[in-house]
Amino acid sequence: MTEEHSAHSVHTAPKKEPGPSLFPEMERLVAEVLSGIEVTSEQVVDEHAIIIDRKDLLAVCRRLKDNQRLSFDLLRCVSVVDYPNESVFQAVYHLYSIGLKHRMAVKTGIPYDDAIVDSVTSVWAGADWHEREAAELLGVEFRGHPNLRPLLLPDDFEGHPLRKSFKVPELDQARFRRGRE
């Protein structure tokens, strides 16, 4: 699977009709700042979101942070979502600018068979534990992370619980109690 392909499969991950942009101002600004990088805009309910290829992630993040008119200095959250049907993870970075009070999301796809993405800890130190958590719970590797040890689970835990393929016994069974204990 090539990188290009994986990026494409993410575009289809949550299927959406391309509609009129909800945040045209933001979209224009981001496109300007990220000129030279392939960026796809996405319509999310209440914020502007872009989908980028994972190889551009660090460059994009750095530009988004350093640019005066965007200055996304606060990384709010790093979420990784598992899409088993498309065989892909999607990492979502929610950004916020304290000075300019605007927000956006950056998304990138990580294919199953090569689950590695660049760590953004060099851009925002606050990504540290978020990435460790994602690495542990979803099995995505973050390249360049200073300390990717397990964070939450017991040392002898096997598997990645937040993957959809990981079944929790209590939740997997029918939601009736089966007989009496």
């Binding site: 949550p14 299927k15 959406k16 999310v44 309910v45 209440d46 914020e47 200095d73 606060l74 990384l75 709010r76 959250c77 979420s79 979502v81 598992d82 979502v92 929610h94 916020y96 304290i98 009070k101 927000r103 999301a105 925002w124 130190a125 606050g126 990504a127 540290d128 534990w129 978020h130 719970l137 964070l151 939450l152 689970l153 017991p154 619980p161 937040l162 990981f166 929790v168 209590e170 939740l171 997997d172």
Partner: protein
């Protein structure tokens, strides 16, 4: 004999998970040199229940039950971003009265949470009485909650499109009694600690963090505002009826333990102001809007962050149709605030490390989730 170099071995101390002042089951492995801390390694996960995974197996309306249990000191504040996220996905309008009720109980819960901080911080500093004073006042708030939501800590009160019950008939009397009580309680608290020389010596300049570092580590809430950064999502990204309410966002400049303490005391006052305004402005009307009987949002995803007593509590909700949420990612403020602990603890004493941990005001329920 000339100077002989004494060989020394670093001493490790395990603070937690069963230590009285680690605010839950948090474990720090301290490397100490005498009383001074050389290095600190945090260990979390003792309370990991997999809330995010469990949420994927629960129907939409049940998830609030889980979120109550993340930051259990400010349960109502956690439910808010989730129901707001769901409302955005479902495109549901919330009646104004419901919004006011939400703000009212959220702010009361913020005061309760800050009182808890105040008490625990006092206990960390070695004073026993602040804890009792804080609990005395917090108990009154919880009595109010019992009357409104039925629960003391775990409320499960917010619903898509409003709140579960309207306020009880006697809420005005209860609230008008509660507000002066709390006001007096805050004065008591302040008189006990805020000017106490021992307390000042213990906290001023301890656990300092610069504004730039704080932002870099993703600190939010009172911890960030104590560094002088005026970020309050209630004001900067207005939600609910906060734009209609008047309140200040206090900041301090030094970013040390004392500033974090004083800031929270000030925030309690501001929250009381909001509560008073809610009392005055509470409109009539339904407390629950038009909501589909079966909650089945369209495909989509939304991130909603609200101002929790500890910082930004964010919910990233992904829906792919169906009765169950596809992914619920909880951005817990304590989780992010805890990352900066190492930065704050550089070169402090063992006694300080307890205070610094207390001043960040973490709740392990949401650190581990």
């Amino acid at each position: 004999m000339a100077e002989s170099r004494l060989e020394t071995v670093d001493m490790f101390i395990n603070m937690g998970p069963q230590h009285p002042s680690t605010h839950g089951v948090f474990r720090m492995v301290l490397t100490i040199d005498g009383e001074q801390i050389v290095d600190m390694k945090p260990h979390i996960g003792y309370l990991h229940r997999g809330v995010e995974k469990l949420a994927e197996g629960l129907r939409y309306r049940e998830v609030t039950v889980l979120l109550d249990r993340t930051d259990y000191l400010a349960a109502l504040n956690n439910e808010l971003p989730y129901v707001m996220a769901l409302e955005k996905l479902l495109d549901v309008k919330v009646p104004e009265r419901a919004e006011y009720i939400r703000v009212l109980v959220c702010e009361l819960n913020r005061i309760a949470s800050h009182l808890m901080f105040y008490g625990a911080f006092g206990a960390d500093a070695g004073a026993t009485t602040p804890f009792m004073y804080a609990f005395r006042d917090r108990e009154e708030i919880q009595h109010f909650f019992e009357a409104v939501t039925g629960g003391r800590l775990m409320h499960n009160y917010f619903r898509v499109g409003g709140v579960r019950y309207d306020l009880p008939e006697d809420w005005r009397e209860r609230l008008t009694k509660l507000i002066p009580h709390l006001r007096k309680g805050i004065v008591d608290c302040e008189r006990l600690l805020s000017d106490n020389e021992i307390f000042l010596n213990r906290t001023i300049g301890v656990g300092q963090i610069s504004a730039a570092d704080a932002i870099d580590y993703g600190l939010t809430g009172p911890n960030l505002r104590a560094c002088g950064v005026r970020l309050d999502l209630r004001r900067d990204q207005p939600y609910s009826v906060y734009p209609k309410l008047e309140f200040d966002v206090p900041t301090r400049s030094r970013g040390d333990c004392y500033d974090r303490y004083l800031l929270r005391v000030e925030e309690m006052r501001q929250s009381l102001r909001i509560v008073e305004q809610c009392l005055e402005q509470m409109p009539d009307g339904p407390s629950l809007g038009e909501v589909p009987r079966v909650i089945r949002p369209k495909e989509g995803e939304v991130y909603v962050g609200t101002e929790n007593p500890r910082g930004e509590y964010g919910i990233y909700l992904v829906s792919r149709g169906g009765d169950y949420p596809y992914r619920v990612k909880v951005r817990a403020p304590s989780f992010c605030n805890l990352m900066a602990l190492n930065e704050m603890m550089r070169g402090c004493y063992i006694a300080d490390c307890v205070l610094i941990l207390g001043s960040i005001d973490i709740v392990l329920g949401e650190v581990d989730r």
